[in-house]
Symmetry: C2
Subunit: 380 residues, 2 copies
């Protein structure tokens, strides 16, 4: 590729980036255009994982194997033994293992392009901001943060640093969900009327260390809604392609259950969207593992059950003509998600799920809490 | 059976009736005890159908064939030709065919014990009251009426006449639903956390004459909620065995859709029950035929899908051990329902779904409308 061709391609990408940014908000192009050039010859970007809990070690780290544009090159953990052991397993240079004190020195590590924050919810803001200040792009687990203010600070910090910020909404990179969105947009279900979605799993803080922080308000920000109800909420938004206007909710936690001294257990909420679509959703820390959604159109319904599993999805469609189960291929949503951000960085494009997307859900979740607390419909 | 044995049996039945009445309210025993004796030697009670629409002619009338204690002996209709034709088909004496003017003379027809009201919702009160005043027991379609006042008048009229009043909640006489209730009460799903239920069907007033009155507020009282959402609502109550305490709701009808000038289309509502169980339900006149419910317990979930079909049900149960589909036998819910009332009359017992049951749903449905209108949680 000669210089002219390279420049032409770069401009094409830049203008695509601008088009996407125009659609999705101004975050992406806060990054100087030179960033795209800086990564232009790199096939894979280098990633650091912050927080080595079960989700990081069992789901994220092994899935770099399937990435075409993302490579695991650094670890950040409060457990030095665990981090060193994992570094050896993954062939990571010991100099690229950080703890939470020396994390900021990651700025001097040119191998690291992106930092993936997999910490308890309330720590997302601090580590996203520190990562941006260290000159790194950020992928941050959902919920983005536990307050709107924190979300805004995270967006501002990444903008100021000229770095990308993406929220890890894995379902939006998962083939069954993407196929559902496509069918809905093509009108296969007719005019959409309703979404229902239910997400729950038993939280067991005394049996499973990974659940300890989830029942602590200070670390989790909330209970089942923040942890898994967010899948129902976010699905309502990407399946409809609309933002809710009004929210009602009811919450119940057994006052005798020690798990729910600080965070909520069961949440029922309804949403109304501008086109009139309604949604009715539940989230729970007390029912068995359920993660399902249904879209009701005037010509048919579409089930995803599970909707948000790690690796096993089912789609069913019911119309007047009967039921069918389209055979779709499972895909590695984690690899797709990480590669999406790597490619967005390399091509200077805004990611599909930027900080603004995460902020919206935090705002809606806080409105769900408010609606339940005040016993009234909350306009958002 | 000699007189002493007969009398002993009668007293046993009467005291069972008293026990049931003590549990379910005072309606049944307003009927003089002599009524039971009056029917004691009758194997089948005589039934009149009021209103010969599609539901009456296609679902109810043919199902008397499966009744052990109920026999179709009279028809009431505004279409004399239709009524005479059906009377001939069903071997009904032409003298037992009434219209809405001479309906009250049914009092002089000793063959008729029970009148089954299958008219548009807003007419239930008038015909129930006229039937009671004519000295007949009443089975009335749901919703019982379109106002709490009408429900109260219906109960009072039947009490005054010493006649039974039952509301036709067929799902409460349907084997899959009864089996679900039994499993829930036995604790098979653990502690119940949530109910979700969705009921909808396309209403087509210009294509289907049976739908004409359904979109007229004066006759229907409301839209999809009154017509089919009531299945979701009632299922939440019989599956939990509790009465809701607080209700939230959102409603949307396309202002450009001529079907919804007077009644509502889509309703999303949530309920909170005294034990803390939450429910999230939808009803619609615009999504495809869906009639499903799920109970979420902390040990597993139970699906009924369909929950409220005429003759085809499926139950699925999911626990940590996996999913199973109990093989249950379909039963004739219509015959069971009619025979239940016939037997209650013969044995002077209160029916399982008396007027008070119908009144509660009407009160809750009006609270759902109020919650949506006012944008606030309504305590009931």
């Amino acid at each position: 590729m000669d210089v002219t061709e390279s420049r032409r391609q770069f401009l094409r990408q830049a203008s695509l980036g601008a088009a996407v940014a125009a659609l999705t908000g101004p975050a992406a192009l806060a990054q100087p255009l030179t960033a795209a050039m800086q990564h232009a010859n790199k096939k894979k970007l280098g990633w650091a994982i912050v927080g080595l809990g079960k989700f990081a070690t069992e789901q994220i780290m092994p899935n770099f194997n399937d990435c075409a544009h993302s490579q695991l090159v650094a670890l950040v953990s409060g457990s030095p033994d665990k981090a060193r052991k994992l570094a050896r397993e993954y062939g990571i240079d010991e100099k690229s293992v950080y703890d939470y004190q020396n994390f900021d020195s990651i700025r001097d590590n040119p191998a690291v392009d992106v930092v993936y924050i997999i910490l308890p919810n309330a720590l997302h803001a601090e580590y996203t901001i520190r990562a941006a200040q260290a000159g790194k792009h950020v992928l941050c687990e959902k919920p983005m943060a536990t307050s709107v203010e924190d979300c805004q600070k995270m967006i501002a910090a990444c903008n100021k640093a000229g770095k990308q910020l993406m929220i890890a909404y894995r379902a939006q990179y998962e083939p069954f969900n993407l196929n559902a969105i496509e069918r809905i947009r093509k009108g296969e279900l007719g005019k959409i009327q309703f979404i229902t979605a239910d997400h729950g799993r038993p939280v067991k803080p005394t049996e499973d260390q990974a659940d300890t922080w989830r029942v602590q308000k200070k670390l989790a920000g909330g209970g089942s809604l923040m942890d898994i109800g967010i899948y129902s909420l976010n699905a309502c938004r990407y399946l409809t392609g609309e933002e809710p206007e009004e929210i009602t909710a009811q919450i119940y936690s057994d006052p005798k259950d020690p798990r729910f001294k600080e965070v909520e257990d069961n949440v029922a909420f309804t949403l109304r969207f501008p086109s009139g679509i309604l949604a009715a959703c539940t989230s729970s820390y007390s029912y068995q593992g359920v993660k399902r959604g249904r879209v009701f159109g005037d010509k048919g319904w579409l089930d995803l059950d599970p909707l948000s599993d790690y690796d096993k999805h089912t789609m069913k469609i019911g119309t007047e003509q009967g039921e069918q189960e389209p055979k779709l291929k499972e895909g590695n949503q984690f690899a797709a998600e990480m590669d999406h951000l790597s490619q967005c960085i390399m091509q200077n494009k805004a990611p599909r799920t930027p900080g603004e997307e995460g902020l919206r859900d935090v705002r809606y979740m806080l409105a769900i809490y408010e609606a339940a607390r005040k016993g009234k419909a909350v306009k958002v």
